[in-house]
């Protein structure tokens, strides 16, 4: 297929349709609304279900209901809306049904603003809803990657019977880039052995997340963990740039990773041996790849559009073996590549020490 010019949000919408999306439920919120608008036209035209719900609570519970029948179902939202969906997400996790949720993140907390941010990393990868459950989280950095990861997200959700979340920010959602769209997948309803579709000549089925006996709930929690270990073993994804001989390693996901790549390229042109690790699955996080780099790197630079949320995952892996520095722009500010370039130069000119928390020195520099 030839490349076409696609806007990020609409690309996600069309990619989900082509991946066999049978039902979409959503609620308007900037900067993701184009997904809802696009699907309000596209889904009915294909005879598939579309509802603009009364709220994000309504939307995610419609997703939950449809997910119980085993069809491919999705909702999309942005930060404040995703907070409202956390209740439903926890129930979906507890019931072990597959669903896809896209969060086109914006600046927060509270109503915040509608500018691109990576403010919801912790909410996405650490659970967000109540209870003890893991979740797959994918982080695209371009329109093409958003398309590819949308298709993948449905496969992963079904394979592991869990929510797969895609987190991106307003800039990837709003920008236009040439991208290749996959061909239309034919919808084949799978006869999952757990789906509640009306008993029709089989034993009836019940889907619920109540386990009044703590031992049963414990068993369920342990089963979720076991399943998560399979995900960790098979589904870690990341991209490496210039890492072969890198003395300094930048770590960034999504747009922050993409901006960092420009900075890394420029630093390379100036003779600095720096590379980039860009996690694609921020959950499961590429701990192992990072751990290996710890043997080779003299320092890490974590760059995010927040106050250092993924930073904690990096610190967990590096465990004080080499210095880790942090550069973040929270609140909806997108860093320019020369800001990150300056950070790379600062780190390359050393000397650096292992600090208790790189966030402290970053805050001091930000305030100056």
């Amino acid at each position: 297929m030839p490349k076409e010019l696609w806007k990020g949000n609409e690309a996600i919408a069309e990619a989900s349709v082509r991946a066999g999306l049978e039902a979409y439920f959503g609620y308007p919120i900037t900067p993701q609304t184009e997904i809802l608008e696009y699907l309000s036209r596209r889904m009915p035209e294909l005879g598939r279900a579309f509802v603009q719900a009364e709220s994000e609570l309504g939307a995610i519970n419609m997703v939950y209901g449809a997910a119980c029948t085993g069809v491919r179902v999705m909702s999309t939202s942005s930060s404040p809306g995703v907070s409202l969906m956390m209740e439903g997400l926890s129930y979906i996790a507890g019931t072990e049904v597959p669903a896809v949720l896209v969060n086109v993140m914006r600046g927060g907390p509270g109503l915040g603003n509608i500018a691109p941010a990576q403010s919801d990393y912790n909410q996405a990868v650490r659970g967000g809803g109540h209870g003890d459950y893991p979740r797959i989280v994918l982080a695209p950095a371009s329109v093409q990657e958003a398309i590819d990861l949308t298709a993948l997200s449905f496969d992963l959700a079904e394979k592991y019977r869990m929510i797969t979340m895609i987190i991106l920010d307003g800039s990837t959602g709003q920008m236009m880039e040439p991208a290749e769209m996959p061909t239309m997948m034919e919808i084949k309803r799978k006869d999952f052995e757990w789906a509640t579709t009306g008993a029709m000549n089989r034993e009836r089925r019940v889907l619920s997340s109540i386990y009044l006996n703590p031992l049963d709930e414990e068993k369920t929690n342990l089963r979720l963990l076991k399943c998560w270990q399979d995900v960790q073993a098979s589904e870690v994804r990341y991209k490496e740039y210039f890492l072969d001989d890198a003395k300094y390693v930048v770590v960034g996901f999504g747009t922050a990773g993409r901006v960092a790549l420009s900075a890394v390229r420029e630093a390379r042109a100036q003779g600095i041996k720096v590379g980039l690790l860009r996690p694609i699955t921020v959950s499961p996080f590429p701990y192992e790849a990072l751990d290996q780099l710890t043997g080779q790197a003299e320092a890490f630079l974590v760059t995010e559009m927040n106050m250092g949320q993924m930073l904690d995952d990096v610190l967990l892996t590096v465990r004080g073996r080499v210095p880790v520095e942090f550069y973040g722009r929270p609140g909806g500010v997108v860093p320019f590549h020369n800001e990150i370039l300056d950070e790379i130069k600062r780190i390359a000119s050393g000397p650096l020490t292992v600090k208790s928390n790189p966030r402290d020195s970053w805050l001091t520099r930000m305030a100056a």
Binding site: A23, G65, T197, G198
Partner: protein, 256 residues
Amino acid sequence: MTTPNNLVYDRPEAFTEMPTHYCPGCTHGVAHRLVAEVLEEMGMIDKTIGVAPVGCAVFAYNYFDTDFVEAPHGRAPAMATGIKRVLPDRVVFTYQGDGDLASIGMGEIVHAAARGENLTVIFINNANFGMTGGQMAPTTLPGMKTSSSQNGRDVETQGYPIKVSEMISTLDGVGYCVRRSLHDPKNIRLAKKAIRTAFETQVRGLGFSMVELLSTCPTNWGMTPVNSLKFVEEHMIPAYPLGDYKISDAIKQIKV
């Protein structure tokens, strides 16, 4: 086992073997039985998907011999919407208490009704939150004592009861909306007829259908089962008049 020829009462096939957990004298059990009988009579056990609430009926899925899913508190109409939109030829119903439907889930029920979702809602109004120990519900009567309105519901500070059927029936998406009571055999028969009509409404694609059932909660009302039934008759019915709040013309033609 041979069936005695004088048998007048048996366990509906739409019920599982599981004994219910409801308190003695609680009319949740009666409401369950009516729904089960209707599903069986209509031959729909196999194609029905129930949505259980959070509240005393949280375990409804143990009793109906149909596929069932369990909703978050109040969200059953949204879940049911999701199911019905992808499986339009199945029968989908929610079973919800007044805390579930009229308090936390008010948004979900109003919008499902307004959208005219082709589902059936069985709404149990027992004027309190049974499961959590009898707190005040949006449906608690003025002056009624509950564990969170211990001096009797004071409308000055705790607001007025919400008349759900009256409110829902104003919405254009609603095909059928009636209030019945479970306090005596005659009314139980009328309730069953209404439940049947509600499901017929759904099967014929005539829009949202809801049956509100005035019910007892002897345990939290602190009354004997018999006095609870009297309370429904003497206090609940005057506050929540029984009747047909909305029956669209197409549904009036249905003979059940």
